[in-house]
Symmetry: C2
Subunit: 273 residues, 2 copies
């Protein structure tokens, strides 16, 4: 059984009720949690490491372990295995997702992290770059030329299959870039997560529930009527027709396998009426 995931669209609340970070502490075991903080994505690992250490302690987690892994050599140390074994959850900070994949991909740390998560059910949380890296197909960078989105994709950590995760979604107006990304392979679903908003992936990757302040936008291109990916004009955006779109606020659950909102709660409500 795979561990659950908490995938945060960046800028989660750190001064108020801290609802999303509180949720991660609960997922990791509450007062018994031992949370590993992975700072590889950021250029400021000390500062961010200290900040999240204090935050998790303030939310009732007594023990945290800092993983300041900034080189591939550092990610090959044998001692990491025991440290990961002690963790009941790993939290991946923001920064640049390409640092995460290029420094950690294929290392001992990465293999052990996948094992703890994929076979021993350890939950993983991540924000911003730490969110983007969770999908198999990761947006590395995107540029909007005068009239066209050019999206550079790379291989992510693949904790969620068949999706592309984009973060800071509404706040940075990333609608066009995520649609462009899914146009290239409509098998892959686009999930745009707003700031201070998160999805909790449960049920062995089968569904997610929304947490936090804003919305999560899902683009499903599987039943596209038309896309001109390979023959659109030079310097022109891709045209696509018939995407299924969902916009979900906190509390709603989406079925990732069947690609639909779970509305069984409505039937339950009706039965009680």
């Amino acid at each position: 059984m795979k561990g659950d995931l908490l995938i945060i669209g960046g800028k989660e609340d750190k001064t108020g009720a801290k609802e999303i970070l509180q949720r991660f502490v609960e997922m990791a075991g509450g007062s018994k949690a031992v949370i590993g903080i992975l700072t590889t994505a950021t250029q400021y690992p000390q500062e961010l490491g200290e900040e999240y250490t204090e935050l998790f302690h303030s939310l009732g987690c007594d023990k945290t372990i800092l993983f300041h892994l900034n080189t591939r050599e550092g990610a090959e140390q044998d001692s990491l295995t025991d440290q990961l074994q002690e963790c009941t959850g790993i939290f991946i900070t923001g920064g640049d997702q390409v640092r995460l994949t290029s420094i950690l991909g294929g290392t001992l740390f990465y293999e052990q992290l996948r094992h703890r998560w994929g076979h021993e059910g350890m939950p993983i949380g991540g924000t911003s770059a730490g969110a983007a890296v969770m999908s198999c197909h990761m947006i590395m960078a995107a540029t909007e030329t005068e009239n066209e989105y050019i999206v550079e994709m790379g291989a992510g950590f693949c904790f969620v299959e068949d999706v592309i995760i984009d973060q800071h979604f509404s706040q940075r107006a990333r609608f066009g870039r995520l649609m462009t990304a899914i146009a290239h392979n409509p098998q892959v679903m686009g999930i745009g997560i707003d700031e201070n908003t998160a999805i909790e992936v449960t049920d062995d990757g089968g569904c997610f529930t929304v947490w936090g302040e804003h919305s999560v936008t899902v683009f499903d291109g599987k039943k596209l009527d038309f896309v001109d990916t390979t023959n659109h004009g030079d310097n022109q955006n891709i045209t696509l027709s018939g995407v299924r779109l969902h916009s979900l606020a906190a509390g709603y659950t989406f079925d990732l396998r069947n690609r639909e909102l779970i509305t069984t709660f409505l039937e339950e409500e009706q039965q009680h009426e």
Copy 2:
């Protein structure tokens, strides 16, 4: 037969090839065009009137007529009927769409404009506020509170039925506000037009073709699976599931009646292969 419409998402090119404005001159009759310029939306009618006069002249239209209508009384002058009769097209400038509806709604000018367009086939173009006003259901203003879009709607000029037009769409990240607007009545289709991009509505309102630099985004909620408009939480965005989405670049034509991309050109291409 209704006149064709050119609905521009704002900031159309005025210094380069001026493709969109050129298109409007052609729609109005080219060198024989007499274009009326309606400046009611703007607080700077003199400046904008002069600018568009020069622009249309530079594009081969010899005669323009300025309609500086800033009061309801002014919009009741009998002489307007003859002036409108001379026009082969009317162009509505940007500004505030509520000025257009509140100053002109129900006046002689408005009635004559509708007559010239609706019965005598005179084309109408409009940019920004002049675009927003063309739909029956007009976005007057929208505010994004901490976590919720509140969209104020009003009655537009209703040149296009069953749609809500939003302008400056990608550039001002208006995705959330347009989805919120259509959630309240999924019969109404949302059309988001980017800057320096336009739709030309033809065929008695039956279809539109995209012109210009960026994209046009269409949200069709008719087959929505779920929407929680009336029972979403306080201070929470609306959740909706199963919107059909289309993103169209220049050259594509969309069937407004059947709500689908027209792809007959593909069949024609195949026949020629």
